[in-house]
C-alpha cells in the first residue's frame, strides 16, 4: 500500500543558509568602515578587526577564564536538567504538588538575580558553588515548567485505552505521557541552554576570582572596550554551541516523535 502523502513533509534544506551569514557580514563591514571613517576611539566603540586582535592577543588569559565559566554553566545546567526533570515529573503527576509549588517557582523567577547572586556568595562562599546555584535558578524553571506542561497535556482516548488494558496511572505515565512530553522537555531545555552561560557570567560579576564575568568587569574598569567585546564574543559563541548541542540531542531522542504521530 502507498505511504500516506501527508508524511512527505518538506525537509529542511541541507547545507548552510547563506542569507543570515551574508547579512551579518555586511553589518560587520559597515561597522568597520563606520569606525574607521569617523575615527571613533577604541574605548567608545572598537572596530571588529580590533576585537579580533584583542581576542588573539588575550587568548591565553581569556581561555583560563572561559574554562571556569563553562564549568559553572555546565554544572548548573546539569543540576537543572536532573532536578528540573524531577520537579516537572512531580508537577505533572501530582496535581496537589503542582498547585503547591508552581506559584513559588514563578516567584523565584521574579526576584532580581542581582539581589540573589550576592546572597548566594554569603551563603555558599566565594567558590564556584554560588555561581552554579545562580545558573540553576535561571535554568531549572523553563525545564520543569515545559516538561510538566507536556505531561499534563494528554489525549483522554489514549489514557482510556491503556486503562482498559489494565494500566495503572504510573504505567500510563511511563508508557505514553513521558515519551509524549519529551519534545516539551527539550523546548524548555533549549531556553535553559541559552541562559546557562549568561547566568554564570552574571554571577561572576558580583564577585569571583576567575571567569568571563570577572574579565569583563576588569576590561570595563580599565576602558579596554576591545577586550570587553572579545569576551562577549566568546559568551555568544559558547551559548550558540550549547544551544546547538541541545538541538542535536533533541533530534536524536525525538526523531520518531513528531512525524505522522496519531497521538497528539
Amino acid at each position: 500500500m502507498k505511504r500516506r502523502s501527508e508524511n512527505t513533509r518538506p525537509k529542511a534544506k541541507k547545507g548552510i543558509d547563506w542569507l543570515p551569514i551574508g547579512f551579518s557580514l555586511l553589518l560587520l563591514i559597515l561597522w568597520q568602515v563606520g569606525v574607521v571613517i569617523n575615527d571613533v576611539p577604541e574605548f567608545i566603540l572598537p572596530s571588529p578587526v580590533k576585537v579580533i586582535e584583542e581576542l588573539i592577543g588575550s587568548w591565553q588569559i581569556l581561555m583560563e577564564h572561559t574554562l571556569i565559566t563553562v564549568a559553572e554553566a555546565l554544572l548548573g545546567l546539569s543540576a537543572s536538567i536532573l532536578l528540573g526533570a524531577a520537579l516537572g515529573l512531580a508537577m505533572g503527576y501530582f496535581r496537589t504538588f503542582r498547585r503547591m509549588v508552581y506559584p513559588l517557582f514563578v516567584i523565584t523567577q521574579t526576584v532580581p538575580l542581582f539581589v540573589l547572586a550576592p546572597l548566594f556568595i554569603l551563603w555558599f562562599g566565594f567558590g564556584i558553588l554560588p555561581k552554579i546555584v545562580v545558573v540553576f535558578m535561571v535554568c531549572f524553571f523553563p525545564i520543569a515548567v515545559t516538561f510538566a506542561q507536556g505531561l499534563i497535556r494528554s489525549d483522554s482516548g489514549m489514557d482510556d485505552l491503556l486503562k482498559v488494558m489494565g494500566a495503572t496511572r504510573w504505567k500510563i505515565f511511563r508508557i505514553t505521557r513521558i515519551p509524549q512530553a519529551l519534545p516539551y522537555f527539550f523546548s524548555g531545555l533549549k531556553i535553559a541552554a541559552t541562559y546557562g552561560i549568561v547566568g554564570a557570567v552574571l554571577a561572576e560579576w558580583v564577585g569571583a576570582q576567575k571567569g568571563l564575568g570577572v574579565f569583563m568587569t576588569r576590561a570595563m574598569k580599565s576602558f579596554r572596550t576591545g577586550a570587553l567585546f572579545a569576551d562577549v564574543l566568546i559568551v555568544v559563541l559558547l551559548s550558540l554551541i550549547l544551544y546547538k548541542s541541545v538541538e542535536w540531542a533533541e533530534r536524536i531522542v525525538c526523531k520518531d516523535m513528531s512525524n505522522g504521530g496519531n497521538i497528539t
Partner: protein, 256 residues
C-alpha cells in the same frame, strides 16, 4: 445465557455551568438502555452522532461506573468489578515512537506477560492481518488501512472475549473502509469473539451484524432491535438485494 445484559441504564453527564449560572447542569445522555448480547454475536449499535453510543461503550469497558441501572458481563456486575474487554477507538492510538510489533505488544506489556512468547504468538497473526514484513516499521510509514489493522490486532491481543469497537473505520475513506469490513468479518469468523460495533453508517451495520440496535437521538435509548438474517460468510452481493434495502428502510424509518 447471554454474555452482556444491560438493564435500564441511565447516564447523566455533569456539564460545567455557563456564565451566570451557579449550579452544574445535568445532561441526560442515556435514558433507560436495555439490551442483551449472546456469546459470539456480532451486534452493531447504530445511531445519530451524540446519541450516547460511545458513552454506552465506555460504560461497558468499565471506564465509568457512575450510572443508574445495571450492566452484567458474564454474570459480573460492572459496578462491582472490572471485566477485561478488548476496546478500540476511531483513532488508532499507535505510538509513533514504537514499531508496529512494539505497539501490538502493548497489552501484554501492561499485564506484565512474557513479551518474547507474546511476540511468537503475534508473528503468525501479522500475516492474517496483512501486516507481514512490517513488524519493525513505525506507524508513520504505514497506510491508514494498515494502521487500523495494526490497532485491531492490538485490540485482539487484549485480554477478554468481548470486542468493543467504537467507530473503528470512521476515519477511513470509503474504499478502504469496505476492504476493512470484508477483512474484519474474515478475521472474526476465524477468531470468534463477541463484537459490539458502534457506527453511524447504516450499510456497514447491516453488512457486518447479526443484530442492529438502533438508538434514538440524545437522550439515547434503543428504539429498534433488528435481526439481520443473511447467511455467513457474507458477500458484497447482499448489498444489492431487496432484503438488504428492506433492512435499510426499517432502520431509516426508526431513526426518524
Amino acid at each position: 445465557m447471554e454474555q452482556i445484559l444491560a438493564e435500564n441504564v441511565i447516564k447523566y453527564y455533569t456539564v460545567a455551568p455557563e456564565n451566570g449560572k451557579k449550579l452544574n447542569e445535568r445532561l441526560l445522555v442515556l435514558s433507560g438502555v436495555s439490551f442483551k448480547v449472546e456469546r459470539n454475536e456480532f451486534v452493531s449499535i447504530l445511531g445519530p452522532s451524540g446519541c450516547g453510543k460511545s458513552t454506552l461503550l465506555r460504560l461497558l469497558a468499565g471506564l465509568d461506573r457512575d450510572y443508574e441501572g445495571s450492566i452484567h458481563v458474564d454474570g459480573t456486575d460492572l459496578k462491582e468489578k472490572r471485566v477485561p474487554v478488548c476496546y478500540m477507538l476511531q483513532k488508532d492510538y499507535l505510538m509513533p515512537w514504537r514499531t508496529l510489533m512494539e505497539n501490538v505488544l502493548l497489552p501484554a506489556e501492561i499485564e506484565g506477560a512474557d513479551l518474547k512468547k507474546e511476540a511468537e504468538l503475534i508473528r503468525p497473526m501479522l500475516k492474517e492481518f496483512g501486516l507481514e514484513e512490517f513488524e519493525n516499521y513505525r506507524p508513520h510509514a504505514l497506510s491508514g488501512g494498515m494502521r487500523q489493522r495494526a490497532a485491531l490486532l492490538r485490540t485482539y491481543r487484549m485480554r477478554g472475549d468481548i470486542m468493543l469497537l467504537d467507530e473503528p473505520f470512521g476515519a477511513l475513506d470509503e474504499i478502504t473502509r469496505i476492504q476493512m469490513q470484508d477483512w474484519l468479518l474474515d478475521v472474526w469468523e476465524r477468531y470468534r469473539k463477541t463484537v459490539l460495533f458502534v457506527t453511524h453508517n447504516i450499510d456497514e451495520a447491516v453488512f457486518l451484524s447479526d443484530r442492529v440496535l438502533v438508538m434514538s437521538p440524545r437522550p439515547g435509548r434503543i428504539v429498534k432491535d433488528i435481526r439481520i438474517d443473511f447467511p455467513r460468510p457474507r458477500s458484497r452481493d447482499m448489498l444489492l438485494s431487496s432484503q438488504f434495502l428492506g433492512y435499510k428502510g426499517e432502520i431509516l424509518s426508526s431513526l426518524e
